[in-house]
Amino acid sequence: MGARAIAGYDAPMNASDLSAMRPEDLVACPGCDLLHRRRALRPGEVARCARCGAVLETRKPGTVDRVIAASLAMVALVALAVTGPFLTLRELGLERTVSLLDASAALGAGGSPLGVLLLLVIAGLPTARALAHLYVLAPWRLGWGMARGAAAVFRWSSSMRPWAMAEIFMIGVAVSMVKIAGIATISPGPAFWALGGAVAVLAVENAALCRETVWRLIAEGADDR
């Protein structure tokens, strides 16, 4: 395993190799377009491109259950993070407690769209992506079949992945705390820990999510109807 291309997942070399193959038997490298033969992966295996080394396919055991669990946790933690007290500042007897909504209002002062965008990238998109994963996977897991429009919903969720920035926000919070530490006392509130937890859950979800598995489920579900 690891960074090496796995055995049997090699690139076909000539026409006779390929003539017997259907497109379903092939995987094109997303990085360099090289064709590879598809082979069933064992759980935990990673297939990489023989030329450029990009990941072709992974097989992660228990992806559906883990992603559902992580998504439920995500929705709850982000809800806590948005509504609860995030940070408290104390100085000379003055005390000020702020939530993420206050941070959004401060950035949006004077009608700047940045305020809304802040809430969107740290809370809105992570929640929406978690709900999208639940919409796609939960009905299937409960035996109700694949949800209507699951393909479009899952595609949207994948495309939004770089724009969900809760983890980057937490680094920004850490930098702010150090900046203020010299002039005032600052202490994290429950919402701080909730968002920190959400970032950890996101890491777990990203590690557990196997897109190939989900796409296969969606394609099979669509065939059933």
Binding site: V27, A28, S112, L114, R155, F169, G172, S176
Partner: protein, 225 residues
Amino acid sequence: MTAERRKTGRITGRMMGREITEHGVTARDLGLIGCAECALVQAESRARCARCGARLRRPDRASLQAVWALLATGIIAYIPANLWPMLVTRSFGRVDESTIIGGAVDLAAHGAWFIAAVVLIASVAIPLCKFAAIAWLATGIARGSVRGLHGRHRLHTLVELIGRWSMIDVFVVAVLAALIQLGFLASVAPGPAAAPFALSVVLTMLAAQRLDARLIWIAADGRAR
């Protein structure tokens, strides 16, 4: 020259009127295309993926125009982002405006070297390196360069991965402006640089996304259209 030959691949045969290198066959060689979203291999003539419905993007040098447009706009937005103040502090009636670099210099002057370095790397080093990297990659593709393919592909992956972390400074401004509202004692407001800075990060993220890594390798195949 021998080293380059080994990297780009010796020609080992012909198929369907095209030269096949020792590495194997690309999807494009066979009139196939791999879906960027769900990786399904299918006929190149399709407009949308048969499985997930995503628009199928053929590797096309014309897409570099969008990359250049997004990059140029991102660089233009980065200029006011650095010249205008990022943070406006009012303390005992005194107004103090600090730019991104000015704020980092202040931090370093107060001995917070590590945080100053984080801010400088995220807000200055990463964006500048990103501008240079995207421009260099786009130029290399346009010129049909076959040098350092692995390095250039890795650079593209790195730029896509790291670009979003530049948002840290915008988040720092949001947290500081929310927290430090102590009336006459001290108050902080976001400066006019916050919006162009965020815009610059978003535009260059889009530029990196639009840059198609497959074009790097197609040039090396020597069969670019």
